[in-house]
Symmetry: D3
Subunit: 251 residues, 6 copies
Amino acid sequence: MVTAFWEELPAVVETIDRLAAARVIILCADGAHFTAEMDKQIFTHMLNTYAGDPARRAEQFRLGLLELHRAFNVLEHVRMPVISAVQGACIGGGIDLICPTDMRFCTDDAVFTIKETELGITADIGTLQRLQYLMPWGLARELAYTSRRMNAAEAVFCGFINQNYKDHTALLAAVRDVARQIAQHSPMAVTGTKTMLNYSRDHGLMDSLNHVATRQAGMLQAEDLREALQAHAEKRQPVFQGLSPHRSAIK
Amino acid sequence: MVTAFWEELPAVVETIDRLAAARVIILCADGAHFTAEMDKQIFTHMLNTYAGDPARRAEQFRLGLLELHRAFNVLEHVRMPVISAVQGACIGGGIDLICPTDMRFCTDDAVFTIKETELGITADIGTLQRLQYLMPWGLARELAYTSRRMNAAEAVFCGFINQNYKDHTALLAAVRDVARQIAQHSPMAVTGTKTMLNYSRDHGLMDSLNHVATRQAGMLQAEDLREALQAHAEKRQPVFQGLSPHRSAIK
Amino acid sequence: MVTAFWEELPAVVETIDRLAAARVIILCADGAHFTAEMDKQIFTHMLNTYAGDPARRAEQFRLGLLELHRAFNVLEHVRMPVISAVQGACIGGGIDLICPTDMRFCTDDAVFTIKETELGITADIGTLQRLQYLMPWGLARELAYTSRRMNAAEAVFCGFINQNYKDHTALLAAVRDVARQIAQHSPMAVTGTKTMLNYSRDHGLMDSLNHVATRQAGMLQAEDLREALQAHAEKRQPVFQGLSPHRSAIK
Amino acid sequence: MVTAFWEELPAVVETIDRLAAARVIILCADGAHFTAEMDKQIFTHMLNTYAGDPARRAEQFRLGLLELHRAFNVLEHVRMPVISAVQGACIGGGIDLICPTDMRFCTDDAVFTIKETELGITADIGTLQRLQYLMPWGLARELAYTSRRMNAAEAVFCGFINQNYKDHTALLAAVRDVARQIAQHSPMAVTGTKTMLNYSRDHGLMDSLNHVATRQAGMLQAEDLREALQAHAEKRQPVFQGLSPHRSAIK
Amino acid sequence: MVTAFWEELPAVVETIDRLAAARVIILCADGAHFTAEMDKQIFTHMLNTYAGDPARRAEQFRLGLLELHRAFNVLEHVRMPVISAVQGACIGGGIDLICPTDMRFCTDDAVFTIKETELGITADIGTLQRLQYLMPWGLARELAYTSRRMNAAEAVFCGFINQNYKDHTALLAAVRDVARQIAQHSPMAVTGTKTMLNYSRDHGLMDSLNHVATRQAGMLQAEDLREALQAHAEKRQPVFQGLSPHRSAIK
Amino acid sequence: MVTAFWEELPAVVETIDRLAAARVIILCADGAHFTAEMDKQIFTHMLNTYAGDPARRAEQFRLGLLELHRAFNVLEHVRMPVISAVQGACIGGGIDLICPTDMRFCTDDAVFTIKETELGITADIGTLQRLQYLMPWGLARELAYTSRRMNAAEAVFCGFINQNYKDHTALLAAVRDVARQIAQHSPMAVTGTKTMLNYSRDHGLMDSLNHVATRQAGMLQAEDLREALQAHAEKRQPVFQGLSPHRSAIK
C-alpha cells in the first residue's frame, strides 16, 4: 500500500463506475500476501508536511484523514459490487481496505490482524467504524484490543469471510464464479440492491422502507423484468443492458 | 402468495392483535413448500392499473409499494411474537414475509432464495431492509446479488434460522413447543419484550434505555410479577391474564 | 447482586477510571456461579419507597430505573476494556451486567438465562437494549421470550461468548492472558479503540468516520507510535505511559 | 371536538386524499370560535373503558393515545396542503389540531391557549412535539408552562400564524385566495414539495438531499413542466391534471 | 463566573431537583451586569494541570470540557423550568449559561456577546450547539462569527429573549410573575411538558409522539386532572402536591 | 446561472478553501438583479443526454441531481463563512444558491421567489431541504406552495435575511464591513465555529457537545488565544495566521 496505491485505487474504481465499465469488481493481489500493513511513508509524509501551531496541524491532520477515508469509501459508493479475494497476510490498512467491500473470500492460509493497536495508535481509516457490523461484537473488540491474528477458519466461522479456499488459484476461480453469477443478472437490479443494503445500514426500518418505495417508484417499470420473464419463457439466458455511463448534468 | 393473501394476512393478524385473541402466532404453510415466489398477478395488476404520465405513475407505484410493506410490517407491530415455520422452498416474497417475524425455524429440506435479482428487479418488499440484521453482512450481500439458494444447514449456521428439524411434523411440534413456553409467560412481559427489541433495532443505546425506563414507569407495578413469585412459592404454574383487547379511545 | 453491589460496582469502576489505576478490568466472581438473579431486595425497596398517586410513583420508578442503568453503563463509559469471566449460572441481572462489558468468556458449565420474562416482567436494566447486537436476532428473541437456558457451547457458537474453558481456573488464566496482551499495548491506542467502537454502534458510517478523524486530529501525533516503532527496531518490548488520571477542569 | 369529530376528521381527509378529490384542504369552523378545548367525553370514555391492573390499563392508554395521534397525523400525511383558518378561541386540542397543518391564518380576535397544563396534565396529542418548530423556543416553553393566552398579533409576530385578518369573512376570503393560488399549480409539484418539507423536518441535510434526488429521478420527467412552459409561451393559464386517485396494489 | 461558580451552580440545581425543593428556578444576578465573560482562571488551570504528550493532554482537555458541559446541562435535565433574568452585560460564558435555560427575559440595557471568537477560540461550552435553535440561523452565524453585541430590542425581536423590561426591578417582578403562574400548575404536568419539549428537540416527530404516548400511559391517570376539574367546578384555586423527592432505587 | 456557472462556482470556492486564500467569501452579482431563475439549458441538457429505458434514465437523473447538489453544498463545506449579498430578483435556483450560505443580506428592492412550483416541478436543488430552518415553517410552506414573491422587508422580518440596505452600494459596503470584522478574528476560531454550527444542525444536543469537546481537545491549546490576550493587554489589533492550505495526505 504505497503512496501511489492511495491515489490509483480510488481513481480506477471511480472511472469504472463513471464509465459503467464493469458489472462487478474483484479486489485481489499478486504474491504470497494480500497486503502488508500500511506504508509508513504516508504517515511520515503527514508528519513532515503538516506544520504550524498544534491547532493548525490538527486541522490539517483531520483533512488528511478524511482524504484517506475517501480513498476507501469509494468501494462502497461505486454502483457495482466489490469482492475482496485475500491470500496470506491482510494486516492493518488491509483490514481497512476490505471492510468496505461487499464480500470477502480468502485462502486457507489467510491471516487477519488489526495491527494499529500494536503500533501504538487507534485504527483510523475505517476498520473500527465497520468491523462490529461484520463479526460478533465481542470478537471484534478482542481482535481490535489485542492485535491478535485471526486465521481463515475463524474468519469464516465468525461471518467476516464468506468462504475459504485451499489456495490462490482456487480462491480466484471461486470468486470469479460468484462474479459471473452477479454479472449475468440485471445490473440495474444489482446496483439497486447494493444501494438499498448500504442505505439500510445507517437508517431505521421505516426510513429504509420509504426509501426503497421512493426509488422503485421511478425504477420498477423496468425493461429488465420483461427481459427476465421472456428469457425464462424462451428458456434462454436473459440479456441485460449495462448500467449507463454517468454523464454530467452540466457539460 | 395470491392476491387474497396480501389482504387476508394483515387483516387476520390485526384482528388477533386487536382482540388479544392469542399469545403467540405461528406462520406456517401446507404442502411441500412454504411459499413459491410472489404471484405475478400483483405486478401485472399494478402495471395495468397505474396510469398517466411517468410522474403520476411513479407516485402511484410508490403508494402501492408502501401498501404492500404494511401487509408485512404488521407482523412486527402485532403485540405477540410471530414464529415462522418453513418447509421446502421459501422464495422471493417468502423471504420478505419471514424477515419481519420474530423467529424462523425450518425443515432440513428448506431452501431460501432472494429471487428478485434473478428476475431483473431490486427486492422491494422488505428483504433488503431487514436481511443484514439477520445474518452476516457479506453473506447477505452474496445471496442478494447472486440469487443463489441457501439450504437449511447454512441458514442455521449463519443465524438466520433458529433451528432445523427433520420434517414438517417435527418442525411443527418443535415450533408449537416454543410457542407453548412463550404462552405460559405473562403476555404483558412478552409484549413489553417485543416492543423493546423492536425499539432497540432503530435507536441508539441511551435512547433505548430511556424508553424502557419510561415504559416500565407505568407498567412495572405489575400484578404479573406478584403472581409469578406466588406461583413459584406455591410450586404451581402461574396463571396470567391475557393482553387486553384494544378498545378505541373514541368509540 | 445485593444492594451494596449496585453501589459499589460503579463506584469502584469509576475510581479506577478516574485514577487511571488499571489498563484492563476483569469482572469475575467467586464460587460455583457467576451470579444468581437480581436480588428481590431492590425491587421490594422500590415498591416500598416510591409513594404517592400513580403518576408520581411512575415518575419515581422512571428515575430509579435510570439510576440502575447508570450502575452498568459505567462499564461501557470507563476508558479501559472490561472483560467478563463467567462460571456456572448467569441469570437475569447477570445478563444485564455482562452485556455492556467489552468481551465475555466462560466455563464449559456456564448457563445463561434471561429470567425476567419467567418472572412476569419485561427485562429493564439493559439486556433488551444490547442483546440483539451480541447474537443473532432470532435467537435473542427466542431466549428473551422463553427464558430458556443457553449453555456455553451455544453461547460461543452464536458469538455472545468469545471462548469457553473447561473450568474456572482455566477461564481465569485465559482471561488474564487476554488482559495481559491488551495491557502491553499503548493505553491511549486502546482507549481510543474502545471509544470509536462504542461510537460506531450508535452512529451512521459517515458520522463515525468524521468522528475518528476529528479525534485523531489531536491525538495522532503520539509519542506512543514512536515508542512502538523504536521498540520494534530495537527488538524490545515497548514501554508506554498509562492513561492520565482525570483532573477536574474546575478544581 | 366531540367524539364524532375524532372519527370523521381523519375519515374525510383520508377519503379526499385517496380519491384525489381536492388540491388544497381548508380547515375552518363556524361560529364565534374555532374550537373549544377537547371534549372531556373522550377522557371520561378512556377512564371508563380501560380496565384491569395498572400495567394493562397503561398499555391500553398507550394504544388509545396513538390512535388519537393518528387522527391528526393524517393532516400531515395527506398529499395536498392543509390550511387552518382560526377565528376566536383555539384552545387545548385546538392547538394540537392546527399544529400539523401546513399553514395557519387567523382573525384579529383569535386567541391561542395550551390549556392542558392548567388542567393538570401534560399535553399529549401533538402540541409539544410540534410547537418548538413553529415559534421561538423560549416563547413555546412560556406558553406551554403557563397556559397563558396568546393573541393574534403576537402569534403573527412570532411566526406561528402566517397572517391575521380583521374578521372571519376577510379571513376566509384571504385563505381561499391562497388556496386558489396553490390549486392553479401542478398538484404533482405541490405534493412533492409537501413531501420534501415533511421529510426535511426529521432528517439531516445529506439524507434529505439524497431523498429529493431519488424521488425526482422518477418524477422529474414531468408533463407538467412542459405544460407550464408552453402555457407561459402561449400566455395562458396552464392546465394540470390532478393527482391520481390511489388505487390499491392488491385489489 | 469564578471557579466556585462552576461547582456550586450544578450542585445547587441538582439538590433542588433531588429534593423537589422548588417548582421553578430563576437564574439571576446582582449588580449592574448579569455576568462578565468566563473567568480566565479555569482556562489557566486547565493549561497548567493537563500534562504529558499532546495525545494525553488532548484526552484530558476532552474530559475537562465534558465536565464543564455537565455543569450547564443540568439546567436542562432538572425537572422544573429554569428562567434566566439578564440585566446589563451577558458575555461569552454567560451565553453558554442562559442557552440551556427554558426562557430568557432581560432589561432594556442588556447586551449579549459571543465573545469567544474575538478571544481567538471556538466557543465550546454549549453556545454553538444551542444557538441556532433559539434565533434565526443567519443571525446566529453573524453574531458567532463577528462577536458583535446584540442589544435587548434585537434579542426580543429575533426570539432569543421572551421579553424585555425597563430595569432590574421590573425584570425581576415580571419573571417572578411568570414563575408564579407556573408554580400554580401541577408540577407533574409542568415537568412532563419540559421533558417532552426537550425530547422533541432531538428526535423525529413519530419518535416524539411514541414517547409521549408511552410516558402518558403510566402518568395520565393523574390525581392532578381530577383536582384541576374539581377546583374549577368549585371556583377555587387547585392545590397540587409537589414533585416527589428522588429516592434512590438502591439505598 | 448558465452552464459555466455550475462548474465554475464550486471550482473557485474549493480552490479558495484548499489554498486558504481568503478569510470570508462574499457572493454577489453585478447588474440590477442577483440572479434570474436557473437556466433552462441545464434541464434541456439533462433531458437530451439521459437515455435508455425509464429505470436507467431515472438512475442518470438521480446522479445528475446529486452532482448539482454538490455544486452548492460546497458553500457549506468550505472552511470560511460565505455571505450572500442580494439585489433585485432572486428567483428559483437563486434561492437554492443562497440558502447554503452562512448569512444573507439584501437591498430594499430585493424580491425572493421559489419559482419551481409555478414551473410545474418540485424544487430539487436544496431549497426545500434548507428553507424551513431559515424562516418560520408556515411561511416557508406558503412561499413554496404558492410561488408568491417575498420582498425585502418581509424577508428581514421573518429572519431569512439578516439586514436590508437602500441600494447595491450600501449593501456591499455593509457586507464588506461584516466580512472585515470576521477577517480580523482568528480564522481557526471562525472555521471551528462554522464547523460546529453545521454539525449542530444535523445532530442531537449530546452528540454535538461530544463533538465540540473532541475537536477542541486537539485545537484548544491555540496560539491564537495567546495572541488575542496579549494584543488586548498591549491595546493593539491581534495578528492571526491564516488557515493552512490543505496539503494532501498522499502526495
